[in-house]
């Protein structure tokens, strides 16, 4: 008689927002469309491989001694084969692995130090208006100093070794991560906090269960943005004043007019940063599973 009943699961199933894995209905039009897209994708992929090969081949044959009629002077641009043999030379000497390791060490240690400090300071200042009021002006003015100007100071303090590189990397990473964390923690929505307050959540609980997870997307983005900067900072420190690392190899090669060596160093840097970026992407997908964006990219 009276329709007092439980909410049936029927409509629940019907109103799922977006079923993630549902194959598109296949109509004739759709089919043609798919084929068109497939062709495009193949063309794009083939060109992606052909283009660099063409550039390398062109580079190899256009560059050489201008007295022999070469188009470009290889003193300035070297050639792929010379770069390759420079790399091989470093590998045989044993300096290649040593340099990569040295740069990575500075990047990783400096990044870790800067990131941890940035996250901690960001969370503390982000959730305390009083502390933020006191310290923020100092951090802002500190941030406006061109960081590279501090390198001579760091060399004075720490010498030419690892510590100096770590200091520069940490300084650069710190500010990027600090700002991201600070904004993220402040960005948390009051109504989320209110709902938990009514459930008798303590300050610590609010911090752990709402503020920090809510800031996580910002923090991860801050970390992600600062990773390339960390590598740049380490290499820059090596170029300005160090006796190890990829930056040092580049600097040394340039000092002896060894263009192939400079390019070889750059090639190594490109490879290192590509690997780092790939790792970061994998990690980000894992940590931000709940983001709607990942729902789409899952398919």
């Amino acid at each position: 008689m009276t329709s007092i009943h439980k909410v049936s699961p029927g409509p629940a199933v019907a109103d799922v927002a977006a079923p993630p894995q549902r194959s598109a209905p296949v109509t004739v039009e759709d089919h043609d469309d798919h084929r068109g897209r497939d062709v495009k994708r193949i063309v794009v992929n083939v060109l992606r491989i052909l283009l660099p090969i063409a550039v390398l081949v062109l580079w190899e044959f256009a560059s050489g001694d201008p007295d022999d009629g070469a188009l470009i002077d290889d003193f300035y641009v070297s050639t792929p084969s010379q770069i390759w043999s420079a790399l091989q030379g470093w590998a045989q000497e044993g300096v290649l692995i040593e340099a990569i390791w040295s740069t990575l060490q500075a990047t990783i240690v400096g990044f870790a130090v800067g990131a941890v400090l940035g996250i901690v300071v960001g969370i503390v200042l982000g959730s305390s208006p009083v502390l933020s009021g006191i310290f923020r002006p100092f951090l802002v003015s500190l941030n406006s100093i061109p960081r590279l100007a501090l390198v001579p100071l760091f060399i004075l303090w720490f010498g030419f070794g690892l510590q100096m590189k770590v200091a520069l990397v940490a300084l650069i990473v710190f500010f990027l991560v600090f700002y991201a964390t600070y904004e993220g923690v402040r960005d948390v929505e009051q109504r989320l906090l209110d709902v938990l307050k009514v459930m008798d959540a303590s300050r610590l609980t609010l911090q752990m269960k709402v503020r920090i997870p809510s800031a996580m997307a910002w923090i991860i983005q801050g970390l992600q943005v600062s990773i390339p900067y960390a590598l740049v900072a380490a290499v820059t420190a090596e170029i300005i004043g160090s006796n190890t690392g990829i930056g040092y190899l580049i600097q040394r090669s340039a000092g002896t007019f060894n263009t192939a060596g400079v390019f070889a160093g750059i090639v190594v840097l490109v490879l290192v940063s590509v690997v780092i970026n790939a790792l970061v992407t994998v990690l980000e997908k894992r940590l931000l599973r709940w983001k709607p964006r990942n729902l789409k990219s899952a398919r």
Binding site: M1, T2, S3, I4, H5, K6, V7, S8, P9, P11, A12, V13, D15, V16, A17, A18, P20, R191, L192, D194, V195, L196, K197, V198, M199, D200, A201, T205, K209, V210, P213, S214, M216, R289, W290, K291, P292, L295
Partner: protein, 274 residues
């Protein structure tokens, strides 16, 4: 009709769940102008009753609800909860807001269980109780989804389940079914009535839908605007359990409806925020 209205508890020695004494709330606008969101509210809410706050937007009904949750202090007057003056956040109530307010990084199950986590309920019992309410609101099979993977209606139901799971004796609900489609809304209303008839929690339910208010409430508090205030309190003596389809044919229903509709109609349109 106008002016503060007082509702006496049926038995004088029973402490009311909520007692509002000349409650006033003023806000300061961006232009530093003060406006009165709620003026001089005198009201009592009996334990175990189902009360609806109804009124146009800007009448202060949400403001009064937020004040009842202790999230907003009164500018004047006082609010007493079970005889005691409310000074800080009211942790004895379940608070279900207009917005679902789910934590987007937690699955449905973990969102619903958060109050139990705060109360340090052991994991096993937590899982059992969460599974129960998930079933109750018809979200079975969606426990491991994230809120962004649910439709709006399902998010609402998850939010309702989160408010119910720790069994607060009082529920404050701010237009919880506002965004739902008609069928789902009816289901949820019936479900809420069923829970209420079983547990007899005190429920304060904010709505701007007159049909919904009459279907649900023992007592309807009508708010007016400029300034936000209580203009009328109506008892709803309709028999329970109620069914909306049958109720509409009842002459008593029509009478109440017409009387309240006129009151709502005569309130000036609102520009202030509720």
């Amino acid at each position: 009709m106008t002016g503060p209205s007082t509702v006496q508890a049926s038995e004088p020695d029973v402490v009311p769940e909520f007692a509002y004494r000349r409650v006033t709330r003023r806000f300061r606008s961006e232009a530093d102008q003060e406006f009165v969101a709620l003026n001089d509210v005198d009201l009592e809410i009996e334990s175990g009753s189902f009360v609806c706050f109804i009124g146009p937007s800007g009448c202060g009904k949400t403001t009064l609800l937020n004040m009842s949750a202790g999230l907003l202090p009164a500018s004047g007057g006082s609010i007493h909860f079970r005889g005691e003056k409310l000074k800080k956040v009211n942790t004895s109530v379940g608070f279900i807001t207009q917005h679902d307010n789910l934590l987007p990084w937690r699955t449905v199950e973990k969102n619903i269980g958060i109050a139990l986590e705060i109360q340090k309920v052991p994991r096993k019992e937590r899982r059992r109780r969460v599974a129960e309410v998930i079933d109750l609101v018809g979200l079975t099979g969606f426990a491991q989804r994230f809120p962004s993977q649910l439709s709006g209606g399902m998010q609402k139901r998850a939010s309702l389940a989160r408010g119910l799971v720790y069994e607060p004796s009082t529920l404050l609900m701010d237009e919880p079914f506002g965004a739902l489609d008609a069928q789902l809304r009816l289901n949820m209303q019936n479900e809420l009535l069923r829970i209420w008839e079983r547990d007899r929690k005190t429920i304060i339910f904010v709505t701007h839908d007159l049909d919904e208010a009459i279907l649900l409430a023992d007592r309807i508090v009508v708010f007016g605007t400029r300034p936000g205030r209580v203009v009328h309190v109506e008892d709803v003596p309709l028999a329970r359990p109620r069914d909306l389809a049958e109720l509409r044919l009842d002459p008593a229903y029509g009478e109440i409806w017409e009387r309240l509709w006129k009151l709502l109609d005569h309130s000036s349109p609102a520009e202030e925020k509720s």
